[in-house]
């Protein structure tokens, strides 16, 4: 009655679309990365270049710098989000007046388009009329100029990301916290554990799967951030993350060096896949000596 062929038929449109738009680009960069292909050169066409593009890539300081920046951005942002999100979720487990309203407002940034988030923050920090530089200058005598100081730009990106994504962590943590059974916590309290011990030995182990999943999704999203940071700082110093760098190098208007662009794309995919896979191993709990 259930012929697998019918199953494949139902699955085929999905597979066809994903193969064309998801897998073929990958093959494309894989092949083109080994070629020299400059569209605006005298003769349009691909010339085999061996490892030439990669030789250039490993000495491309801008690229290496962008990878370092992306990692710093992701680490700062995600650590802050997890700590803050956990505290907020902890507070949401109690009952207090106006809770659901607070929660709805807190969720709001999640659904805003990244490009609009960038616009919101740009309006806040723009020199001339933005309130942030004004207040910092007037009250703290602090010169704030994200176009000039790379560290300030990076910090602003991190704060923007925290503003945008902490709600996500809060909501997943809340889901995880409400799924914790009461008995072990009560038992630990009866046994004389203090709050820190309860957290460390009871809450955290229960929370581990949700926490790892959340961190996994956040890392994968953070390292490919482009839109909001681009809108915030326009690729100025301190915010040239890998995604932005690739975008600038490979965007049709900016550069016609398609071979080199492909090799950068491929190496970025490589780094992403390795990271993704390591995290996946960590989450799926395939480590030896662990009870499954």
């Amino acid at each position: 009655m259930r012929n697998p062929r019918t199953g494949w038929l139902l699955l085929s449109p999905t597979l066809i679309i994903l193969i064309i738009f998801g897998f073929m680009p990958f093959l494309y960069v894989l092949v083109v990365g080994f070629f020299d292909w400059n569209v605006f050169a005298a003769e349009d066409g691909m010339r085999f270049n061996g490892l030439g593009n990669y030789r250039r890539l490993v000495f491309d300081d801008l690229f290496l710098h962008s990878v370092g920046l992306t990692i710093r951005f992701a680490v700062f942002a995600i650590v802050s989000e997890v700590v803050l999100g956990f505290l907020l979720a902890q507070m949401l487990t109690r009952k207090f007046p106006g809770k659901s309203l607070f929660r709805i407002i807190h969720t709001f940034p999640l659904m805003i388009a990244p490009i609009a988030v960038g616009a919101i923050w740009r309006l806040l920090v723009i020199p001339g009329f933005g309130p942030v530089p004004f207040v910092l200058d007037r009250w703290f005598d602090f010169t704030y100029q994200i176009g000039t100081y790379p560290d300030q730009a990076l910090a602003t990106s991190v704060i923007m990301d925290v503003w945008h994504w902490t709600p996500f962590v809060t909501l997943t943590m809340l889901a995880g916290l409400s799924a914790i059974p009461r008995e072990p916590v009560e038992q630990a309290k009866v046994d004389g554990a203090n709050r820190l011990q309860v957290f460390w030995y009871v809450t955290l182990p229960f929370l581990r799967p949700v926490l790892l999943t959340t961190v996994f999704i956040r890392i994968m999203d953070a390292i490919r951030t482009v839109d909001e940071v681009w809108m915030l700082a326009g690729g100025g110093p301190g915010t040239r993350f890998t995604g932005i760098y690739i975008w600038r190098v490979t965007s049709p208007g900016a550069s016609a060096d398609w071979g080199y662009g492909s090799s950068i794309s491929l190496i970025t995919l490589y780094l992403t896949i390795v990271l993704c896979w390591l995290l996946f191993i960590a989450i799926s709990g395939r480590r030896k000596g662990e009870v499954e």
């Binding site: 699955l11 388009a113 999704i217 970025t268």
Partner: protein, 280 residues
């Protein structure tokens, strides 16, 4: 008793503070959208002195903006409809049929969602302008191109979300309908779709938002005809004098769908963003 009241007070106070942190940036954008160019560069304050609607009326009557808006609505809606249909079929297949390599297909699906879009821009641009060509027509700068392309990140998420829903429908119901003489279409229409309707609606809504919010692909794979509202926002920022008031007005307009969705589908956002890995 008193201590508990204190604690509630602190909690509420803290949340009021957090809410202000969330809202002030948005409020400031609203303030900017209500000001003329001259007023903007005076001393910053957070109050709105008068109703100045010119930014909004300028944006809304601009034909370019209207085209961007139409494109965004068309692309997001068609994409959401397509994703709902394809994802339902795919999940049904994955859930009811014994297919070779089912689990590997699953893993491959999530990698599609996790891939950095920037790395695919160049090959997609080449494909859109050169590979998919019929005479003079290419996929570049068409709504169809974006509708199909957005499936790459929406389909994996939709399938992961719907998998749990379809798995939850007892297979006996399918069998009963089939014994009554229903074909595959009948089973889908009379058994699966009614029971999966809430999940399907959530999938559709969230796919719609993700498509609406997308910027990078739209910015690189369209030029004039099929540009969406997010690219329009980015276009405002130019080297020579950005019109901040209109930028803010346009951003405010793009926020409206997000606000509606947060209120309507609040409970399902987490499930959607974690591919159903975390449920509330």
């Amino acid at each position: 008793m008193r201590q508990r009241a204190m604690r509630t007070g602190t909690t509420v106070g803290f949340w009021v503070f957090m809410t202000l942190l969330t809202l002030i940036p948005i409020w400031w954008m609203f303030v900017v959208s209500m000001r003329s160019r001259v007023e903007l560069f005076s001393r910053p304050n957070l109050a709105i002195s008068r109703l100045y609607m010119e930014n909004y009326s300028n944006v809304l009557t601009d034909s370019t903006f209207q085209r961007y808006m139409t494109n965004s609505v068309v692309v997001s809606s068609c994409n959401a409809a397509l994703v709902m249909a394809l994802a339902l079929l795919a999940t049904y297949a994955l859930s009811r049929y014994k297919l070779v390599g089912r689990d590997n297909i699953f893993f491959w699906l999530i990698t599609n969602r996790m891939a950095p879009p920037a790395a695919f821009l160049l090959p997609l641009f080449i494909m859109f302008t050169r590979s998919f060509r019929i005479g003079d027509w290419t996929l570049f700068d068409t709504q169809l191109g974006l509708i199909l392309l957005y499936c790459v990140f929406n389909l994996p998420f939709a399938i992961w979300l719907l998998k749990g829903v379809v798995d939850g429908i007892p297979i006996e119901l399918d069998d009963a309908a089939m014994i009554d003489g229903a074909g595959l279409g009948g089973v889908l229409r009379h058994v699966v779709i009614p029971l999966a309707a809430p999940g399907l609606a959530v999938t559709g809504i969230l796919s719609w938002v993700f498509a609406w919010n997308e910027y990078l692909f739209a910015a690189n794979l369209t030029s004039v005809e099929a540009r969406t509202i997010t690219t329009g926002l980015a276009e405002f920022v130019t080297v020579t004098g950005t019109n901040w008031g209109e930028l803010a007005a346009m951003s405010m307009i793009t926020l409206i769908p997000s606000a509606i969705i947060v209120i309507v589908a609040q409970r399902y956002i987490v499930m959607g963003l974690t591919f159903g890995a975390v449920k509330e």
